[in-house]
């Protein structure tokens, strides 16, 4: 396959950046998208040019490090697939492919396709944890969890924090990420003590980072490589409503 790539090049946070075209000949349809970029980078390095910087780590779709907007779609055209698990057979010979970084105020570009996603870390730090006793692992059956709750919590826990939901959202909102992180804990008995402070703190952090609000369009869930459902945002909203009604910490009646 011969491809034309138009890639966002930006030397650093202060560079305005631009789209640059590259020809990539002899692409195997069995390559992953990142391997195709590796081939381009090998050539750029040999030619003495700066290789295209992009984030990647496990390359098996479970770490959440990779992520780029491919032809306007976060993680590219395949559903429930990260960019590293996307293969070149899904593209046509001679196609022009536009590659851009996640675009959000809260995700400033560090270089080329690499963005700083530490805003997500700060949202999690604002409440995405439980107070667990340390020491030997507790007996697994000591605390019973309904199967349906365990399944829904696991569905949310599958979030790898890649940021595709923000990249796809017309409002630049991180509500799907926040909803996944909130509902993954609030559905389980272990998550109950901090349930109110968690949701209020995480939404405060979400807004403080400069993400937009949710308008229930569903772009996020369409590109989510882990298929986090849009309904989890409803669960987040419900938790927030409940938490803000008793946020002054009055004891239970």
């Amino acid at each position: 396959m011969n491809l034309t790539l138009r890639i966002w090049r930006q030397t650093g946070p202060d560079d305005p950046g631009r789209m640059v075209s590259y020809q990539v000949p002899d692409v195997s349809p069995d390559m992953s998208f990142l391997e195709m970029l590796d081939v381009l980078n090998d050539r750029l390095t040999l030619d003495g040019e700066a290789p295209v910087a992009f984030d990647h780590d496990c390359r098996e779709g479970i770490c959440g490090a990779c992520g780029m907007v491919i032809n306007g779609v976060a993680h590219g055209p395949e559903r429930a697939t990260t960019a590293c698990q996307l293969h070149m057979r899904h593209f046509r010979d001679g196609q022009t492919i536009d590659i851009e970084p996640w675009r959000a105020k809260a995700f400033p570009v560090i270089k080329d396709l690499v963005v700083d996603r530490s805003a997500f870390d700060r949202i999690v730090a604002a409440g995405g944890y439980i107070t667990a006793p340390t020491g030997a692992a507790p007996e697994a059956h000591a605390q019973l969890v309904r199967k349906s709750d365990a399944d829904a919590a696991f569905e949310s826990a599958a979030c790898i924090g890649c940021g595709a939901c923000v990249a796809a959202c017309p409002n630049g909102s991180a509500m799907l990420f926040t909803a996944a992180k909130v509902s993954h804990l609030s559905l389980l008995p272990q998550g109950q003590p901090e349930r109110s402070t968690r949701v209020v703190g995480m939404i405060d952090a979400h807004d403080a980072e400069g993400f937009g609000g949710c308008t229930n369009i569903g772009e996020c869930t369409a590109v989510c490589p882990k298929g986090i459902p849009l309904t989890s945002i409803g669960r987040l909203n419900r938790d927030y409503l409940k938490a803000t009604r008793d946020r002054d910490g009055a004891p239970a009646t």
């Binding site: 530490s118 409002n171 405060d204 609000g213 229930n216 927030y240």
Partner: protein
Amino acid sequence: MHWTTNERSPSVWRVTALSTRSPIRSSIGLKIVMAVTGILLVLFLLAHMLGNLKIFVGPASFDHYAHWLRTIGSPVLPDTWYLWIQRAVLGIALVAHIWSATVLARRARAARPVRYAHRPKVQGSYAARTMRWGGVIIALFVVYHLLDLTTGDLNPVGDPRRPYANVAADFAPERWYVTLLYTVAIVTLGFHLRHGLFSAFRSLGQQTPRGEARARALALGFSVALCAGYLLVPFAVIAGLVR
């Protein structure tokens, strides 16, 4: 989570305790304001649509209905008091609805300072992507509609005691452009409600997949029925069923 080569201060620096910000100003709080005020306005739209259908009963009945609206609550309340209370509540709801939409739209714009070079159409419905401009069109129409059929300034008859005559003159066949404008506004409203109603349920905590299917079906059915109810009147005037 993410390791970056960024050499600024550690990525986790603000472990937020509860902020002192009012929860209404959060992005979820604003959505809840939109949902509650939107539902209030929808209930008014439903009552208004059903009231309009009185026109098919006859001129006397329609005019009597319009007069009765001014006497609700009597003798406990003086004449037209109830009407003014309702207008005030709806006005506040409308202002709150537009205010929260504006704040959210401005935040959304600020959240993406650099646009995508390649951006296909949003995969969501047409209704979802036209919420903001659709809302502006509806707001402009409401202003025209009040000047037309409430104050009568833009109406060819404009007699507050004869609403039936006002409506019949308004949608007369030679004033086809009024009907066209009305139809465009009502269809825009239908699209607005199709996404807006579902979105309101979601903002208020709708959280199951089956409930989502139901909420979407209800929003679509309600919007179609509301549009049909409103459009019946002008097209009946054009067809000569109301004269």
